[in-house]
Point group: C2
Chain length 391, copies 2
């Protein structure tokens, strides 16, 4: 059975061009970049070339790019660096809708001597910027705000937050894992201090990430060890995956326009089609300020898990809540923060597209999802009750 | 030019069988193991199978295996867990010859409220076990001792240390990055609490590691984030590399005997040949308690870097000091801890073999290294002076 993969915010297909670029480093060029012999050392030059490509994607200098093992490590590294560099400050700010890599780390810090401000979002998932501004203090060590939300796709006002924080001595970090490769991200223009990227969200393999650290930002390593990454991240360089991420960065640049046009049109077609054909379907997330590839729709009075399972039988891959939390049955913390009612949050499905998706795939979903929802609602005690109440 | 790769303690060739096992997960099976759909979920079963294979290699239970991104992360995770689980204890023990992943972390902790005992080694690189035992106290949170040294190859008495520490409420961790796959390692028999493994030292790719955590050991995650690895290590699973490490673990089990016999014989042939043909060449490390693949020889009055460069022109890859520190020109801290004189430590070369090496390669080195040393010594002012002094 062919797979219709619409779960690209969870992970993406490794682009064939990316795998092609990696294979020599998984076969003959297996040397350690730190070695004195040319067999290993030559690999170091390829890492430098990949670093330039990643830097170009976000308009950074190559020296501002630190390779990590994943977005989570990048996030931990950023928060850790900010805290260690400002040992006197005990207040940290983030949002209520962050990825678990930030959310759970902040919760850990909250139990260990830090005061946390959790900035809320409104029912459309839009950040309460005034709340953020009103909570900045001299004791604030770091503000971490994701560039775009993984579940709703809502894009946050990173430029404005950066302007607000400028010259206040507060580190500004953004988890841009969902934004990079989908919308233009320019670190120089925005002027933030640190930013996280994950390779496997942009068609590189799993197990490689990046932390951008603006030149001059006080830094302290999280992964303490060897001299790699100019003493900023110990551990033998993941050569093949770094090379792959370089190639993926080139592809991401070249695909940005297609994502903004063709993929956006696909997403809109999917969204409009489903909302028109399925009653009691609600869009989650502010329509005009979202990632172009993401739509999150609540189908009231049904279970997201049940929808996923029935779509799965047709080869359709999507998500309910973020993939990272879907191991649990709790409603997504993002949708709860948006105030989506319980009966709707449970039935929310996120479709996240990529350049690999087609009109034919979208139309297949538009045709096949409505009967699934109808069948599930017929089995749901809440649906009858709800339908009565709604009419 | 064919490469003669004798730098396997720095990194190893990815075994073709390992790459083969990974490719499906870099091509068609790119799903996120945490996803609800079967496309992603099926990958989770493959991860479970790989976990069993890794567990078998060290005689652990699969639930005791945590996948990380590298040996350095495993080490950081272990030390971090021990410290967070024992917040009242402020004394930590390690050796003077650890890999930078432990050494630099302990140095960081020494500056941040911890008292460190650095256990010395003798001139053969043998650990001073009495010193270790004599420094254990009620305040000791963790003892971390590498299983085998990366530079000298000397194997440490991990079993005896484990016996000593048993039931004392002290966490015992070993960085077994250099031991696993080269000599038998049985965590149940030894009875230690935590142990680090690195994939790229056993013919898996770079960017994957393991932390063994004995069931019942108090644990606190280092990489805080999603629910992966049963809440013990956040971050999307590096599926392909985990699968590859599983395959590499199977190969490692099947190669243990060959390493103990054929590879050991190759190493002995190389060592004996070089020591016989080159004057003023000194073996570093206790001859009868080393890894079977490693030999470290000091060629007095020449620079290791110069030797490496001239060997490099013949395609011979080896190391001076560990690859992780070779970016600097300082003499290796391991050889300094062993009291190797400055003029000898600078001229030390480590050859580390694998099952891919052949007699022909060994004989090529035995034939070609002596004239290199001779030529370099003719250019060295220290050599004439030293030769006079020695006679």
């Amino acid at each position: 059975m062919d797979i219709i993969y619409m779960d690209n915010n969870a992970t993406t297909k490794v682009a064939p061009e990316v795998l092609e670029s990696m294979l020599p480093y998984l076969r003959e060029w297996y040397g350690n970049a730190s070695s004195m012999h040319s067999f290993g050392g030559s690999v170091g030059r390829e890492i430098a070339a990949a670093r330039e490509k990643v830097a170009t994607l976000i308009n950074a200098d190559p020296g501002e790019i630190i390779f990590t093992s994943c977005g989570t490590e990048s996030d931990s590294t950023a928060i850790n660096a900010a805290i260690r560099s400002n040992p006197g400050k005990k207040h940290i700010i983030t949002t209520r809708v962050e990825h678990p890599a930030i959310k759970n780390l902040y919760e850990y810090l909250a139990k260990n001597g830090y005061r946390v401000t959790w900035v809320p979002v409104d029912k459309e998932g839009v950040l309460d910027l005034d709340y953020l501004k009103g909570n900045i203090s001299e004791d604030t060590a770091i503000v971490s705000v994701m560039w775009a939300n993984n579940e709703s796709g809502v894009v946050f006002p990173i430029d404005e937050i950066a302007r607000t924080l400028r010259d206040q001595g507060i580190v500004f970090h953004s988890d841009a894992v969902q934004a990079v490769g989908k919308i233009p991200v320019d670190v120089k223009k925005t002027g933030l201090d640190m930013m996280s990227i994950s390779g496997h969200k942009i068609h590189a393999p799993k197990g490689i990430g990046v932390l951008y650290v603006k030149k001059g930002t006080k830094f302290s390593p999280f992964m303490i060890g060897g001299h790699q990454e100019r003493n900023r991240r110990g551990g033998t360089e993941n050569v093949a995956s770094i090379i792959g991420l370089g190639r993926a960065s080139e592809l991401a640049i070249s695909h940005l326009e297609e994502i903004d046009t063709r993929v956006r049109a696909l997403r809109d077609r999917l969204e409009t089609g489903l909302l028109q054909k399925i009653p009691n379907a609600l869009l989650n997330g502010k329509k005009d300020s979202r990632l172009p590839n993401t739509t999150n729709i609540s189908f009231e009075y049904v279970e997201g898990e049940a929808i996923l399972l029935m779509m799965d039988q047709l080869g359709i891959c999507a998500s309910s809540g973020s993939a990272c939390t879907s191991g649990s049955l709790e409603p997504s913390h993002v949708l709860r923060a948006m105030g989506v009612p319980f009966t709707a949050a449970h039935g929310s499905i996120r479709f996240s597209l990529s350049t690999y998706n087609t009109v034919k795939e979208v139309d297949f979903v538009i045709e096949n999802l409505p009967p699934i929802i109808e069948r599930l609602r017929k089995m749901s005690p809440f649906w009858k009750e709800g339908a009565c109440r709604l009419q």
